[in-house]
Symmetry: C2
Subunit: 217 residues, 2 copies
């Protein structure tokens, strides 16, 4: 393998191959040179388009190279293989989702009333799972019980538990956050969205309705 | 294999080996002779005790024969192997649970106000999953996405959707029932009860609290 810049190569290895089942948390990635970052973005965007159009099984390193206009050698050097590229795609999307709910604009980010922030989070989570449903499902099927130990799940859980604690002081926020996140498991969402053919809007409305089921009863 | 009664043998095969991932529904089993039914009950009770004391991995046909006082040849003839015996154990327990919530005494069965019946069902479901958690988890791990197509899940879903429809006319009962049953997936319950060490009472209180999270907010 040719290596123009050994230090850049080392960084790439660190960011390109998270352990399966353990999506990364908000830890900042090591800084990249501007052109390396640009290439990375082009490769990931091309892969995301292929996944959106034809599903994760259709992704090959050659197609990603062709669609991104970047040499196939560079694609292999940066991402190793298709499996690592798909992990990097999940990682990239998850990182942007985390930034949005931790520090983005309201109502998903800080600044909105707690009830609105929780609604915005649950709505965004429906979209988040829908956007990468097939990759998330494949990762989940490979290691079903890793979900609860992943950085992505833990950060979501902490966030939802804090919001519930603000919304209803004295509530069992830690437990309620687990119960509220359970339907967002990729296998449940696959059943609802693909097998039951329920739209994202209907899923969002249903999640809100669940939390008021006993109101007025 | 010796066969004293070919017709009884045929019935046994039908009831002892449900397809993996497809727990049976309320379809009545074929009638058994009184002594065959008594033996079946003794074998299942002995296996249930071994599972409760030492987990499903500890179950062997010899131990079940010894603990039930029934010849090991009869145990093999009735249940085939340990895997089928464990399925029969799930089947037996699920059937009693279904009878209780479909036609047993209130508040779990008919006759109580809808809100109380839903509470009673969710409480009973916490206990149901806890009682056979390890067998349910093993079955779920073997075929994670079979849950939503199993007779047991479908009957629970129909029941909960009907109760929700009575409780809140106009609610999206079919979707809400799926969302409400999601935390009862064996992998979620394993995480909460074993890894997080939450008690059954805390789980029951949390499920009720979830449905009132927005009340008064």
């Amino acid at each position: 393998m040719s290596t123009e810049n050994p230090r850049a190569e080392e960084r790439e290895t660190r960011t390109a191959a998270p352990a399966p089942g353990l999506l990364p948390t908000l830890d900042a990635p090591a800084p990249e040179r501007a052109d390396a970052a640009r290439n990375r973005r082009r490769i990931l965007d091309a892969a995301a388009r292929i996944v959106a159009e034809r599903g994760p099984d259709a992704v090959t390193m050659n197609q990603v190279a062709h669609a991104s206009g970047i040499g196939v050698g560079t694609v292999y050097r940066r991402f190793g293989d298709v499996s690592q590229l798909l992990w990097a795609l999940l990682d990239d999307r998850e990182r942007r989702f985390q930034e949005a709910y931790m520090s983005g604009p309201p109502p998903l980010g800080p600044g909105a009333p707690t009830a609105e922030r929780l609604d915005a989070f649950l709505d965004a989570l429906v979209d988040r799972v829908a956007e990468q449903r097939e990759i998330l499902l494949a990762a989940h099927s490979a290691a079903p019980r890793a979900r609860y130990h992943s950085g992505a799940y833990r950060l979501m859980h902490t966030h939802v538990a804090l919001l519930i604690g603000q919304l209803r002081p004295g509530a069992d926020g830690a437990l309620l956050a687990h119960l509220l996140l359970a339907p967002f498991s990729p296998d449940v969402m696959h059943h609802l969205a693909v097998e039951q053919e329920l739209s994202g809007e209907r899923l969002k409305a249903g999640v809100r309705e669940l939390l008021t089921l006993r109101q007025g009863s």
